[in-house]
Symmetry: C2
Subunit: 445 residues, 2 copies
């Protein structure tokens, strides 16, 4: 077999990169569980019927078929890989509603797949971490603050513990924009929303041009829409600024009050990490209330690494409706470029804190006993693969970043190969410094 | 959307079942890392060329195509879902050989997919946990003992900590069987091996019949093959029993010595957990030395839950050969039936150890502060979704198996809702009993 080449869009990490990813996943899991979210995993495939319910997304689906499937098999039985974790979760809730306790808080960390055309920076397989809270028939509004604060807590730990950039969440409310447009006499508000969604990419003037040229809005009305989108405040002063535009609508009032509650509560609990931003639209998604996007400060070009919002009807079986609010973190989007470029890496490529040296193949048993004693106290270690000269065994450790080499038996010597310091050590009590017990994460620059 | 039905062969667990699975995965990860294995993940898809290298397995592959892919696209560009973790790992090793340090010890825990026809007990998506040690050009034989002992260590923890049945590993060596068959004058030894592989299913007499009828072996030669397959000893007394069959071959000597070394070392380190079993063949796999299968004691009908062996050439790029030895645990095979039937479950369906009650919506802030104080000391908790009557809030906790309800502020009261005991508690110092901090696992019967 010739040396294989990577497949574009399907990122894979070397072991040190994977250690960074694992640390991030550990932080996510611990944060989610501390907040009472239960883990679920759904199968990788859904029926094409489930995947295509929302129309728009079908172009990106990977279809899955048995190699020797009957070619005449009707297409509606085909399966596709899930392209997000929301559609599978909605299906899971409906399928298992009788066995779940509502409100149901779940987290889900899985790969998703999108059949994008191969191009730079587009992932076709990537890891998402979602949290959602879903109610039966109703779901209190305070969850609109709770869900994003849980994700912010996880992102804050990544900043403090791993040195990742700080996160800033931009929040809006669909009712605010929709009420505002209606107050202006616009009926097809979704069309406006989808154009405002391009504000960050193309700028205010270009959006105004789209609104007048494509939707036939008057210059004055388009200007108001663009003015709304330009409002972004770190506190609830957005309310006054929106009011100053002079538009009146009941739904606008509702949206303003809801967003005000979210931003004030967030500012009370995590000051400075959330702004009210009227240009956040989440254009193609079926949100009905609060919506979230998240930037990394200083890395705004990455786009939103964590987005979500509220659905009045995450799922419905015709009789019962399940409203939900949730937020998703693009783990690969966050880490992939930094890991691939080597901007973030682990201090070693293996879990081992200690390499137990082997004197001679005849005494490998002794080294195994030392390793067993260390492992019994949760010190990751490995035994040298060959009874080479000690210099070669030390190089084995050095090449992997293993900080300590153990010589001798249970009463032996532990050498820190970074400093060269070697001390008498008892395998039943010696401990490496806490920071060496597992690999650290280091960031370039 | 009508209530969806499960897809046959694609198991999904309710939250309590998932907690059991997570506990098993935690044990696997910790055990593997304590032994110095580095985690990697590979993409879910491989090129069809990579997947079909070994021929036999192609009938079970799921092909993956973009929904709107050009129908005229040549089939060799097609992708398929991986059906095991060995083929992707071999590809990963070749692709990244220049960046890996050998011997390379990796573990990999991922879903795999097989396009089986739907039928009872056959999974089409399931979770595997693999460890392999791979060398460049050569790999010392002592790894043939190390790899299975790591898996046995993980299985032993599942037995002790979670109450799963104990494991018994059956070990053989391909050279032993092949040398024996050659010593009998048989040339197509693989044909014999594949029939001996059915020994457990169809019995000794039926295997002998296959050997004489399908392969034209004499009754005497067939009898010797079957006699070999019948040898199974908990120590190295198999050597004498094989010798007593009177067959001579250099490769047989080699296989006997290698298996003797493995069984003696295993008996020294974990007495009673490994037997030498001459009927273990791993018929269709390309092993070249030691082979492993693992039964759960008292649940032999499940078949082998953990199998593996040594490859002289796990991968090769024509110039360099990468020998490897590894073993794979079928996590879904092990847990799926027990979880689905409710024979094993978690003591609660959520991570929360505490529900913080809410007096009135106006004082939800107070409850949030209590929750933050508990989380700061790593106590998983959630705040009641509504300021219902306390009885209703207690029922909320009870339905999820949450053991404690907190009333009042930072200086409040913690009620154990199982015993009814309620104590004064300070949110900055109170701790639940250690065993209540995370969900336990309980086994029926």
């Amino acid at each position: 077999m010739a040396r294989p080449k990577p497949l574009s869009g399907f990122p894979e990490f070397l072991p040190a990169g994977r250690i960074v990813e694992q640390r991030v996943l550990d932080i996510l899991r611990e944060t989610f569980e501390l907040h009472g979210f239960a883990s679920i995993e759904t199968r990788a495939v859904e029926t094409m019927e489930t995947l295509t319910r929302k129309g728009e997304i079908t172009k990106e689906v990977y279809v899955v078929r048995r190699l020797h499937a009957d070619e005449a098999q009707p297409e509606k039985d085909d399966l596709g890989l899930h392209f997000d974790l929301t559609v599978p979760f909605a299906r899971y809730v409906l399928e298992n509603a009788g066995h779940l306790a509502f409100p149901f808080r779940r987290y889900q960390v899985q790969k998703v797949w999108r059949g994008e055309r191969p191009q730079e920076g587009r992932y076709r397989e990537f890891l998402q971490a979602d949290i959602d809270i879903v109610g039966q028939d109703s779901l209190p509004e305070h969850f609109d603050v709770e869900a994003p604060l849980v994700m912010l807590a996880a992102l804050e730990r990544m900043h403090v513990e791993l040195g990742l950039p700080q996160a800033l969440m931009h929040v809006n409310n669909r009712k605010l924009a929709e009420g505002f447009y209606r107050g202006l006499g616009i009926t097809d508000t979704l069309e406006v929303l989808q154009r405002v969604d391009k504000y960050d990419k193309i700028g205010a003037e270009a959006v105004a041009a789209l609104l007048t040229e494509e939707l036939g809005l008057s210059a004055e009305v388009a200007a108001k829409c663009v003015a709304l989108a330009g409002i972004c405040t770190p506190d609830d002063s957005f309310v006054e600024q929106v009011r100053a535009l002079g538009v009146q609508h009941e739904m606008l009032d509702e949206g303003l009050a809801a967003l005000q509650a979210v931003i004030n509560e967030a500012n009370r609990r995590v000051p400075g990490r959330m702004v009210a931003d009227m240009k956040i639209a989440r254009g193609l998604d079926y949100y009905t209330g609060t919506v979230y996007e998240t930037e990394l400060v200083g890395h705004e070009k990455l786009g939103s690494i964590s987005s979500g919002g509220r659905y009045d009807s995450l799922a419905s079986d015709g009789k019962t409706t399940f409203p939900g609010v949730g937020i998703s973190l693009g783990v690969t989007r966050l880490l992939g470029p930094m890991i691939t470029k080597g901007q973030i890496t682990a201090t070693r490529s293996v879990p081992s804190a200690v390499l137990v040296a082997v004197d001679a193949e005849e005494t490998r048993d002794v080294a195994q006993e030392v390793a067993a004693a260390l492992r019994a106290r949760r010190i990751p270690c490995e035994v040298a693969p060959k009874a080479d000269k000690f210099g070669k065994q030390i190089r084995y450790a050095d090449r992997r970043g293993i900080p300590f080499v153990w010589f001798g038996g249970l009463q032996g010597q532990a050498k820190d190969i970074r400093s060269g310091e070697q001390v008498e050590a008892d395998a039943s009590s010696w401990m490496p410094p806490a920071e060496d017990l597992r690999p650290g994460v280091s960031i370039a620059g």
